[in-house]
């Protein structure tokens, strides 16, 4: 270090050291003498330097007292021995004169402008001391009609200063290329998609343009840039596992707008449509506002005490008559860590059973399990930030530009900059379109293709022999098994081109840093866990683990699905992943909880359904999961729920599941509670209450704790901070976490006692010591074996950008105006055979049920495959999906269902009437 010479440059005569992050004079100056010293208008630290406004001009001399030159500091590199002058009279005059020119084409109606007191132009002009211009009747771009055609975005180009930030944000951050600066010179102006209306354009409503626009020229319907609010509260998004930091604007105890704070680590000032704009659900009139008890088939309003007493009586009756194992709990990955923790504690310690599970069961349980078997830790090995350090991305069964939009946008940006991309997906996703290698395999053949890739890497001797020797075990056997694979046969079953797979495998093995991401297209299969373990193999034999820019990285679906599992909402492991069947662990939990801990591992969600139908399970408590709409084979789930004697549902809306409940308890949204969420990169982040709970509702943690107290359990009154302290005492990797330490950006677990966190796992050794290489042969899904003959198409399901899972929340926002139905995608050949055209209504059916859906004919799907989403209860797509499960974890096989499609009516004919609330048909 010390041998490296420190480089110095001078700011207004004083020497300062040039750091590696000082990529421009502006950054250099700002870091030492503050934000205000040099004004800017077209610069945004999240965008590449541009150099348009020139108000950041400084004078630079190459030596002391040498001749100076005026340069725009934002796009001029800082160099050794430069003498930079930031604010002499000439510069001040120059800046003033430029801003004066800007004011010649600006309406100057600040008092009625949305961004009054929060406008960069206003601030820069004020700081320079100018408020007007001296030019004689200049022509202005005034009276341009406001574009209000968009559901969320607003454009008011009268106030545009042509800084181009919006264009760059759309290109560089989001990657949607919607905005353009059209024309040139004085006539240049912002247009959307070649002069379409904003609402008709291909805009995906991410809000990046509004966020960066220095004036109110682009904003949104919520006026998110208005300074006329009471306060702003920083919190964490409750949609997906990216975990974007948000800032809610509060006025009169209402959330009026959401934006991203400027300083963020996870999202670098970006969000997607859901986080930024889809918050209107939180005080929607549909919110449940009072406890309900079902009597004689009808819900009756009740007080909290009545509801608690009712539940207590029923719970105690059930556990007395049938034992505690006749009761089970399903927790919510949308709730906080603290709430998940107290919920599993209630089920284990106050009720006395390990039957507590969460929706990780139907998403990433195979990831957690598979990675535990191979590495020892079931969580993403690397950080989102590593995307900037990877040379190649391998994306398997994931559509991040829709489902994890902010991470998806980052990957897309890197790929557009020339990083390599391999996509394994039966669907031509947005990323697949950009991929160097898109392996369009048949759903259910991930294991086949991964075996092919492993085979080619081994055969080409491209594995990392040192890493394999030092860090893994089981290689000899692994080698034998991989060599034995029949590549031609595998290529045939997967329907892929052998050569393409070979090239992709070689690219993965030879790139300097290869980073893997996967989604539910990996896990929601019969061989889901095995797929995860083969991915781990791939990373291990090529040494792509344990450093920046590599790793195995599940894209977690729910905001806190990592946390729900960490907190012990799993039937076989308690808080902190201790096996409950282990005596030592039972003793540990018994000491911590103060009551004897149940010893028998509990039921997984699908087992709960079976047990309910078999009358072994009598009572279930569910928080915020709409299992009827989201679990596969809805009819089966409905039957199970209807077989129960007590079903308690904690919800914010009357979901399809809540309709079947005995007691409904009104919980709250994330905007009304404190706590923490853990995102996909193990980052524990604070959730801060923005508004008080709606009258009549209670935060979910409060409800659970009050119930525990009712049941006579000694649990202190719910306080998120205190519960976090309790968690830190039990969960080893939370040891050093306190609410204060989490600060703005959160901490990535494991967090040591002194507060140091961990960006990258397995740097020196695996949790298991050596990584375990494991082999598996591909096996046909039993769903296909049993049903393919009668139902020759394969249905695979996923989500769209605008909606989130059962869309309980997003349907209750303006997102519904953008997308309001599930659509069935079908390959042109399969469509022709069935006489289907885009817009026709098709009957999608399997042995389990049927739904009617609008059809879109497209080669985005592979021949033989149909695709749809499951957002809308009107459609209840899960009436059709199957019984298949991951062999190890019972994760549902959503991605493979044997189905058939038949034409019902064509596009010109009547609309079919969706069946009223199919969920109630039992």
């Amino acid at each position: 270090m010390s041998s490296e010479k420190r480089k110095i440059a001078y700011i207004d005569g004083k020497p300062y050291e040039i750091g590696t992050n000082h990529t421009s004079i502006l950054k250099f100056v700002k870091s030492y003498v503050g934000e205000k010293k040099v004004p800017t208008l077209c610069d945004d630290p999240n965008l590449a330097p541009y150099g348009a406004c020139r108000v950041c001009s400084v004078e630079v001399a190459l030596e002391k007292d040498g001749p100076t030159k005026v340069v725009a500091s934002c796009h001029t590199p800082v160099a050794e021995n430069q003498h930079i002058f930031t604010s002499n009279q000439n510069l001040q005059d120059l800046r003033k004169n430029i801003v004066e020119l800007v004011l010649t084409d600006h309406p100057m109606e600040c008092n009625t402008c949305e961004v009054n007191n929060n406008c960069e132009l206003q601030t820069v002009a004020n700081d320079l001391g100018i408020s007007d211009h001296r030019y004689n009747s200049p022509k202005q771009h005034k009276g341009i009609p406001r574009d209000t055609s968009h559901d969320y975005m607003r454009m008011n180009l009268d106030n545009c200063i042509n800084c181009g930030r919006c264009v760059r944000a759309c290109d560089e951050i989001q990657g949607s290329f919607v905005l353009t600066m059209s024309g040139r010179g004085f006539e240049s102006r912002i247009t959307t998609d070649n002069d379409m209306m904003f609402g008709d354009s291909s805009c995906v409503s991410c809000g990046a343009c509004a966020h960066t626009c220095p004036t109110d020229a682009i904003s949104d319907v919520f006026q998110s840039k208005s300074a006329a609010v009471d306060k702003k509260v920083r919190t964490t998004c409750s949609y997906c596992g990216v975990g974007c930091n948000l800032e809610a604007s509060i006025k009169d105890d209402k959330v009026v707008a959401i934006d991203t704070p400027k300083e963020t680590e996870v999202n670098a000032g970006h969000t997607c449509i859901k986080g930024r704009y889809a918050f209107g659900f939180y005080d929607h009139p549909d919110r449940l506002k009072t406890p309900l008890i079902k009597r004689n088939g009808k819900f009756e309003e009740a007080t909290w005490d009545e509801a608690y007493d009712f539940i207590k009586k029923e719970m105690q009756r059930i556990t007395k008559d049938h034992g505690p194992d006749a009761f089970a709990g399903i927790s919510s990955a949308r709730c906080t860590n603290e709430e998940n923790y107290v919920f599993q504690k209630m089920i284990r310690a106050a009720v006395g059973t390990n039957s507590v599970d969460c929706c990780a069961r139907i998403c990433h349980s195979p990831t957690a399990w598979g990675m535990q078997q191979t590495f020892g830790t079931g969580a993403a090995t690397n950080s989102t930030e590593d995307i900037y350090h990877a040379d190649l991305f391998l994306v398997i069964g994931a559509n991040p530009t829709n489902a994890h939009p902010v991470t998806g946008a980052k990957i897309k940006q890197q790929v557009m900059k020339g990083k390599k991309l391999i996509v394994l997906d039966p669907i031509t996703t947005e990323l697949a379109k950009l991929a160097d290698y898109h392996i369009k395999l048949r759903p259910g053949t991930n294991v086949a293709v991964l075996n092919m890739m492993l085979h080619f890497i081994i055969k080409s001797k491209l594995y990392n022999a040192d890493f394999v020797r030092d860090r893994t075990e089981g290689f000899d056997n692994f080698l034998k098994e991989i060599e034995r694979q029949d590549i031609d046969q595998l290529a045939k079953v997967a329907g892929v081109d052998k050569q393409l797979v070979k090239e992709a495998a070689i690219a993965y093995a030879t790139a300097k840093n290869s980073m893997e991401f996967h989604g539910l297209g990996v896990t929601e299969h019969e061989q889901g866990s095995k797929t995860v373990m083969l991915i781990a193999d791939l990373a291990m034999i090529t040494g792509n683990i344990g450093r920046k820019g590599v790793g195995v990285n599940p894209l977690r679906g729910q905001n806190n699905v990592q946390g729900a599992a960490d907190m012990g909402c799993q039937p076989h492991q308690g808080a902190g992943y201790f096996e409950v069947a282990d005596k030592k662990n039972q003793k540990f939990y018994t000491e911590k909880y103060g009551v004897t801990h149940p010893t028998k591992p509990g039921l997984k969600i699908p087992q709960m359904f079976e047990a309910a139908i078999n009358k072994e399970l009598k009572g279930v408590w569910i928080i915020g999961e709409d299992i009827v709409q989201t679990d596969p084979n809805s009819a089966h789930v409905i039957e199970a729920m209807n077989s129960l004697e007590l079903l308690v549902v904690q919800e914010i809306f009357m979901s399809e599941t809540a309709k079947l409940a005995t007691v409904v308890l009104p919980g709250t949204t994330f905007l009304e509670k404190d706590g923490t969420f853990t995102n996909t990169e193990r980052r524990v982040q604070r959730v801060n209450r923005a508004v008080p709970p709606l009258p009549g509702t209670k935060p979910d943690g409060v409800i659970v704790t009050e119930m525990m107290q009712k049941l006579g359990f000694d649990q202190p009154t719910y306080d998120a901070n205190q519960v976090l302290a309790e968690i830190a005492d039990i969960v080893p990797f939370f040891k050093g976490i306190t609410r204060e330490r989490l600060g703005k950006m959160g901490l990535q677990w494991p967090v040591k006692e002194d507060g140091t966190d961990t960006q990258i796992l397995h740097t020196e050794e695996f949790k298991l010591g050596k990584g375990r290489l494991k082999n598996f042969d591909w096996k046909e899904s039993s769903e296909i074996e049993a049903n393919h003959k009668d139902y020759p198409l394969i249905l695979t399901t996923s989500r769209v950008l605008q909606h989130y899972n059962a869309a309980t929340m997003t349907r209750r926002t303006s997102n519904i105006n953008i997308v309001d139905e599930d659509v069935l995608l079908i390959h042109p050949k399969d469509a022709a055979y069935r006489d289907l055209n885009t817009g026709d209504i098709g009957r999608l059916y399997s042995g389990r049920g049927e739904v009617a859906l609008k059809v879109e004919v497209t080669d985005k799907v592979k021949e033989g495959i149909v695709f749809t989403t499951f957002h809308f209860p009107e459609h209840m797509v899960n009436m059709v999906t199957g019984h298949g499960k991951d062999e190890e974890t019972m994760c549902a096989e959503y991605k493979v269902s044997s189905v058939q499609v038949q034409k019902i009516s064509n596009q010109f004919k009547t609309e079919i009437q969706p069946k009223e609330n199919q969920a109630e048909v039992s």
Binding site: R54, V55, N97, I98, L101, K139, M181
Partner: protein
């Protein structure tokens, strides 16, 4: 000399100049592409400056603020002077020229002030009636 991005050289200076870039720029002119255009005595310099501003306003890409707005505002000033609807505010004009010269991103709008400054220096007198000093 040298087209719009050149210099406006009074006849009496011609003999003192060699035809090279350095010498032109050291005397405050620009050689540009070195073509020679002679401006007849009866052609108004107001008109000529108008033409220069019009040229840069037309050709400006519009990216940088001083170029996009400055050349257009300059053109407007001389529009008004030509139509006699307003006089040229000399102080503001000078500030505008310095702003464009120092602030512009590229040499188009950044160089236009040079010939204009030449005119103001050497032929300012003939435009006096179109100007006001303070503003």
């Amino acid at each position: 000399m040298g087209g719009p991005l050149g210099g406006v050289v009074p006849l009496n200076e011609i003999d003192n100049l060699n035809l090279d870039f350095q010498e032109f720029s050291s005397k405050g002119f620009m050689l540009g592409h070195a073509s020679v255009v002679s401006i007849p005595k009866d052609f108004s310099m107001t008109e000529y400056i108008h033409h220069l501003f019009e040229f840069s306003a037309e050709e400006s890409c519009g990216k940088c603020f001083p170029g996009r707005l400055g050349s257009y505002r300059g053109k407007e000033m001389f529009d008004q002077a030509k139509k006699k609807t307003a006089k040229i505010p000399l102080k503001l004009l000078n500030e505008l020229l310095v702003t464009m010269q120092k602030g512009c991103l590229c040499a188009l709008c950044g160089a236009i002030p040079t010939p204009i400054m030449n005119i103001l220096k050497y032929f300012g007198d003939e435009m006096k009636s179109d100007m006001v000093k303070d503003n």
